[in-house]
């Protein structure tokens, strides 16, 4: 468990641990809103003098964002403080837009973002928030249109390609999802996550050539990250297994051998991961499964 979290559970008033935890979350851009409010609010309200001015306002922004999820009244209070401190700030205006979004006031939010774009036409965040509003309103067609429009101006924005990928998956447009994944791989070829994601999509489409592609991408993902990549090993195992059970007649001698080797490789690696762990239901189930499916 997270060191800072552990400290805070035993000593909830330890402001240093709270400050360090929030720093960690800021770095990772983690959305652990409940914990951020729980440990961040006392930090702002009681120990603000312990933080540098710069850090204090960063924490206030962070707690504001967390409050949009968990405690919107706190966010309103924080926004007023930030607006007082930074009266004509673009950054704070964006936060006010987020508050409107969180309250469901779509028209006000759109007005705020459009006015930002009038004076700052290249502002990416305001553009993205407009897309988020259409997503929150449930308008899938408009959201896809907006995302594609955004990407036509900013092709390198991987965050947006990921967003578009997710929407295509929920609509089961697998070929379009593949295209998004390919763009992600082009932009970040050494990111094992993108190879893992594209492998998942090929597996889902599921024909023989797709399964072989899936197997290749899972293998590549493993090559990029050999440890702490359990999900890719599972993917490799499942794909090799599916090829074996569904298409063994269509595979020639050497292909069958390769498939079998990959199957064994994945199975052994997964078993080794679990053997090092303490006993629990999951460990027992996984080892049982491999016992039954030798």
């Amino acid at each position: 468990m997270n060191k800072n979290l552990e400290t805070l559970q035993n000593k909830p008033n330890n402001w240093k641990a709270a400050r360090d935890l929030l720093r960690e979350y800021r770095e990772k851009q983690a959305r652990n809103s409940y914990e951020i409010i729980k440990y961040g609010l006392p930090l702002i309200n009681k120990k603000s003098q312990k933080l540098s001015k710069e850090e204090l306002f960063e924490v206030m922004e962070q707690v504001f964002l967390a409050g949009l999820d968990v405690n919107i009244e706190e966010s309103k209070t924080l926004l007023l403080k930030l607006q007082k401190q930074f009266p004509k700030s673009l950054r704070v205006t964006k936060l006010s837009g987020l508050l409107e979004e969180a309250m469901g006031n779509w028209k006000s939010a759109i007005t705020i973002y459009k006015s930002i774009l009038k004076n700052n036409p290249s502002d990416q965040i305001a553009r993205k928030r407009l897309v988020c509003v259409s997503k929150a309103q449930g308008d899938v067609v408009l959201t896809i249109k907006n995302l594609n429009n955004y990407l036509s101006h900013f092709q390198g924005d991987t965050e947006t390609w990921e967003e578009l990928l997710e929407i295509y998956l929920t609509q089961q447009c697998y070929s379009k999802a593949l295209y998004c994944c390919e763009e992600l791989i082009l932009a970040e070829p050494n990111n094992y996550q993108h190879h893992y994601k594209i492998a998942n999509i090929y597996y889902t489409i599921g024909k023989r050539t797709d399964l072989i592609k899936a197997r290749q991408y899972y293998a590549h993902s493993i090559k990029l990250l050999k440890e702490q990549n359990l999900k890719s090993y599972y993917g490799l195992y499942l794909t090799a297994n599916k090829l074996k059970s569904l298409y063994s007649k269509n595979l020639d001698q050497s292909e069958t051998q390769i498939n079998e080797q990959l199957l064994q490789f994945a199975a052994d690696k997964i078993k080794n991961v679990y053997l090092k762990l303490e006993d629990n239901d999951t460990k027992k189930t996984v080892l049982d499964f491999f016992e039954k499916n030798k």
């Binding site: 449930g138 998942n200 999951t282």
Partner: protein
Amino acid sequence: MSQFNLSNSTYHQLLLHATKYFSEPITGLLLGPEIKNISSTSTIQITNCVPLFHSNAFTLSSNVDLALTLVSTFCESNALSIIGVYHSSSNNNSQDLPSPIKKIGETINKMTKTSVVLIIDDQKLKKGKEQSAIKAYCYSSKWINVKVNSVSQKNFKEGIEELSNEENEKDVLVIEEEEEKEKGQGKTKNSKFLKNYQFQIGDEEMLVEKFKKLLLEEKFLQIVDFEEHLKNPELDFLTQNIN
């Protein structure tokens, strides 16, 4: 009449899963004691749940296949079977029953001849309203919304007999199925039969009270789902140690 009974602890666990990942769509499986010969008059208990995903992973069959395989193995050694799937989308406005969830439900139906899909309707979780937050769907050649009946605590176990005696036709959707096979085999018996579905949960007020307690005790932070397990294999996703 096919009767589904959802245990209180399962109801709370799936809501806790939804609470932990409030900004994401969540999916999980529903388990219950194994029934050897499921018939149209079985009472099916849902006693456990296994949280699986807190992302769009449910749309991809690689993740779903893996989860179903591992959970089936778990069920075999614990005299359980997979009864259904629960889901909650991150967006209030999105369609009720997403097609990947229907597919999962249909796969489960093939495996265990019975399947229910629970959709968490977070609009019903508003303050001041003591009501259950789920919608139930049962499968009979297509997915049909079944009313969730809340039965008072003392009647929960006996509720089965109570409801079967009452005339609840306005609550229960009646589906008629034609047994064409029987016709072909020359049986002269009436070939139509009625299939009723009932879905029961415990007393709504008590459920909400208990849920509030669990939230104050921060129990939702202890939920571990399958995705979490893949990141940290030492965490156990098959048994949640809550309640």
